[in-house]
């Protein structure tokens, strides 16, 4: 393929036409797939998965030091046994957070065009003062358990990811899973991928859609961070308001001791004030769940950005290959016709120190021809890779967008439901308190 055609091709790839014309069924074609389930059906349809418990363990770490860590119980059960009425006990195994991380890294490298579901946060972030930042804190562990289960369910319901053998083994193979993962050799790819994603490079003809998408992922990340920060502050202050009311309970009780007529009213009102103060704990625990939903999409935005960056990288490599080919062809032309069109040091030195012999020129030409053939092949494969990536990625991006819109809308609605519940509780408490206050004198 000639250089100019490649450039045309690249110009074309900006338009909508090139992308997403292929089929979306990747199960057969994808060499990474070792399908363990029925074709076209995500794993979750045939298998029930849950992360049901968490436990503390102690053991020796890599540098033989004692450490305390938490493990999570993954339970799986084939769906058909349940529907058949056979109450089979679920299969189960314990995994710790680092193994989940390993699984996710493997998926990221193996499926670079997929927006891979994120894990729950490694360390507690956007914490308001009462919420513990300690990884060992039971509330944190509980929220992490839910987050890990959510991660597994998302992967298991993904049409592409759920078919991966390593994922299946993660759920079912107790011993030696780590070795299997490492054997895939994904680590090497992981390192180069990480390097590439962090490198700065400039794509000459960026795909507008991906550029917009990258900007969107940045905006989403920024706005959700802001929201989480503000929300944490508000939670802190709400906590303060409610808890101060607890003091009313105490003082009312003490005061009621010296009041004859008002004593009873004060005492019972005081109990309601205590109840009011205590109610904030449940309210904020529910709100933390909303924060977790936002956090998931905070981390999803990072995954989205990674997909865009990977696309940029592929595009860049294609451009480099194409550019290299163009320059090699130019060199061949110059060598063949003897004209020097571009300035080069070699050209200058040969002018100064004399031209090459025809034999030398012939040798050079031969090498160049070889390189050009290789280069053309490279451009062809790079192009194909780019096309395929664009196609596959855009399918998953569409899927992700729809999922995001649905999930976030549900999250907003559940936030409103929480507010309503809080208001109703408030009305009830103050109504009760008012009754007590009303009885205080006549």
């Amino acid at each position: 393929m000639r250089g100019s055609e490649i450039l045309e091709r690249m110009a074309d790839s900006r338009s909508e036409d090139v992308a997403v014309i292929g089929n979306t069924d990747l199960s057969a074609a994808d060499p990474h797939n070792n399908t363990m389930t029925e074709e076209g059906v995500p794993l979750l349809k045939t298998m029930e998965i849950s992360v049901s418990e968490a436990e503390k363990r102690t053991g020796k770490n890599a540098v033989s030091m004692q450490e305390v860590y938490t493990v999570y119980l993954i339970e799986t059960r084939p769906v058909n046994t349940i529907s058949e009425g056979l109450s089979a006990a679920p299969d189960s195994l314990w995994r710790r957070y680092s193994e989940f991380e390993l699984l996710r890294n493997y998926l990221l490298v193996t499926f670079p065009y997929i927006v891979v579901p994120p894990l729950p946060e490694k360390r507690a972030e956007f914490v308001w003062h009462k919420l513990s930042a300690d990884n060992m804190d039971p509330d944190f562990v509980e929220r992490r358990r839910i987050g890990l289960e959510n991660f597994l369910l998302r992967v298991a319901s993904h049409s592409v990811l759920s078919k991966d053998k390593i994922f299946y083994l993660f759920l079912t193979q107790d011993d030696g899973w780590k070795d299997v993962v490492y054997d895939t050799g994904f680590q090497a790819k992981a390192d180069s991928r990480l390097k590439a994603l962090n490198a700065t490079f400039r794509v000459k003809h960026p795909d507008k859609r991906y550029t917009e998408l990258k900007h969107y992922s940045d905006e989403l990340h920024s706005v959700i961070s802001q929201l989480l920060r503000v929300r944490a502050k508000v939670a802190d202050r709400l906590y303060g308001v409610y808890k101060v009311h607890g003091n009313y309970g105490r003082v009312f009780s003490e005061w009621s001791a010296i009041e004859r007529e008002m004593g009873d009213g004060l005492q019972s009102a005081g109990h309601h004030m205590d109840a009011y103060a205590a109610s904030v704990d449940d309210i904020l625990e529910e709100e933390e769940h909303y924060a977790d939903q936002l956090k998931e999409y905070l981390y999803y935005s990072e995954a989205l950005r990674a997909v865009c960056r990977k696309h940029e990288l592929i595009q860049y490599e294609l451009e480099m290959a194409a550019q290299d080919l163009v320059s090699k062809k130019q060199q061949r032309e110059e060598l063949a016709t003897g004209t020097v069109r571009t300035f080069s040091l070699k050209g200058m030195t040969s002018k100064l120190f004399g031209q090459e012999t025809p034999e030398q020129r012939e040798a050079k030409l031969k090498i160049l021809e070889q390189q050009i053939v290789e280069g053309e092949e490279l451009v062809k494969t790079s192009n194909a890779e780019c096309d395929e990536y664009v196609r596959n990625a855009w399918v998953d991006i569409d899927r992700f967008k729809e999922q995001k819109n649905q999930d976030l809308k549900e999250a907003l609605i559940s936030y409103a439901v929480m507010q309503i519940s809080m208001c109703k509780k408030g009305i009830q408490v103050w109504n009760n308190a008012k009754e007590c206050f009303s009885k205080m004198s006549h």
Binding site: Y216, E219, L220, V223, I224, Q226, L227, V230, R231, K233, V234, D236, R237, L238, G240, V241, V244, H245, N247, Y248, V251, E254, W255, A257, I258, E259, E261, M262, G265, A269, N405, L408, K409, L412, I413, Y415, A416, V417, Q419, I420, C423, K424, G426, I427, W430, N431, A433, K434, F437, S438, M440, S441
Partner: protein
Amino acid sequence: MESESTSSSAPVNGNLAQTVDDLSKHMLELDEDDDLEVFSKDAMLTDASTFSASMPASPASMINQYKHEDQDIKDVFITVDCPENHVTSIETFVTYRVITKTTRSEFDSSEYEVRRRYQDFLWLKGKLEEAHPTLIINPLPEKFVMKGMMERFNDDFIETRRKALHKFVNRIADHPILSFNEDFKVFLTAQAWELASHKKQGPGLLSRMGETVRAVAASVRGVQNRPEEFTAMNDYVETFSQKMGMLDKIAQRIVKEQKEYLEGMKECGPVYTLWSGSEDQLVEPLKAIAGCIDNCCKVTEEQVAGLSENQVPILHEYVLCAETLKAVLRRRDNIQAEYESKVDALASKKAEKENLKEEIGRLEDKLECANSTLKVDWERWKRNMQADVRSAFVDMADTNMNYYEKCLAIWESFLTSQKTEVHVEKDTDS
């Protein structure tokens, strides 16, 4: 029921003695009307230590009088409003309009309008305390605000003060004894220059100093045999004062925390709006949430204002009231101490017996009167306190219920709007 005023129009030394005389007259008149037992001085002389309610007559008759008075129809109506700034070359101050409407015969007219400044209210309170040392007079709002003098001219401060002053004069008007005080009448009716000249009258500096000296001496000496009920009152006031102080702090703290919560909430809405700018499908719900949060902020502002204006000042007033109660109990103690010192003097001295006896008799009357008025006024104060505290907390409950009800409506309307969206989408799909 007649309404003889306890007049103190002429400048006389020893207001207390005068008051006792007036009240005695009062009681005697009552006794003639209602056939109650006559207060007998001689019967009191022998036993200075027991002053219980079961003792001869006069406390009971006082209580009866109070009860009758309480059932009277209110016949003095006062409003305090229209604060205005006055600027003179020396100072700037605020005056309040005081309008009085009354059917009482002591008043020449049925309606009065005057302008008074805070200092005038202070003066009135002082005169009332002088005339009735063991009556409980609810406190005035504080003279200075902690934060600084400029606060004096802040609108909210002036409004809070106006409300407190309005309450202050109305409580006096509702009081069966205080409302007939001559200084009170002058306060309500005199023009500015009349009031100024009236203020200049009254016991001279020397006599007031004498009063103070006697009071100090008495308080140093201390009370020997304080009746159980007054000790009980003292204990009550100690605890009451403490608890009120705490409630005042709690109420103010809640307002502070709620304000901070509001500040935080105000930042949320804009973030949701910002977010909506990046989205397409989610634009509508995000903007709707931002709107809800902004509306909730407005409701929260109303709630904070409600608590600050209604509940907090009442609790604060009763913190000051506790101090008033302590002062009243101290003054009662001082009267008893003075009486006791004279009794001791009688026991030790042989000469001047007659003079001492007479003085003791006078002091005994004074003490008796002080005790009985205090007891009755104590009950009246307690009733008022209970009513005030009840209303303050009922208001607080109402304010909070109102707040939650409004927020509930806001969020429910959001839910309804989102459900509609879902239905519309379904229609377009099919």
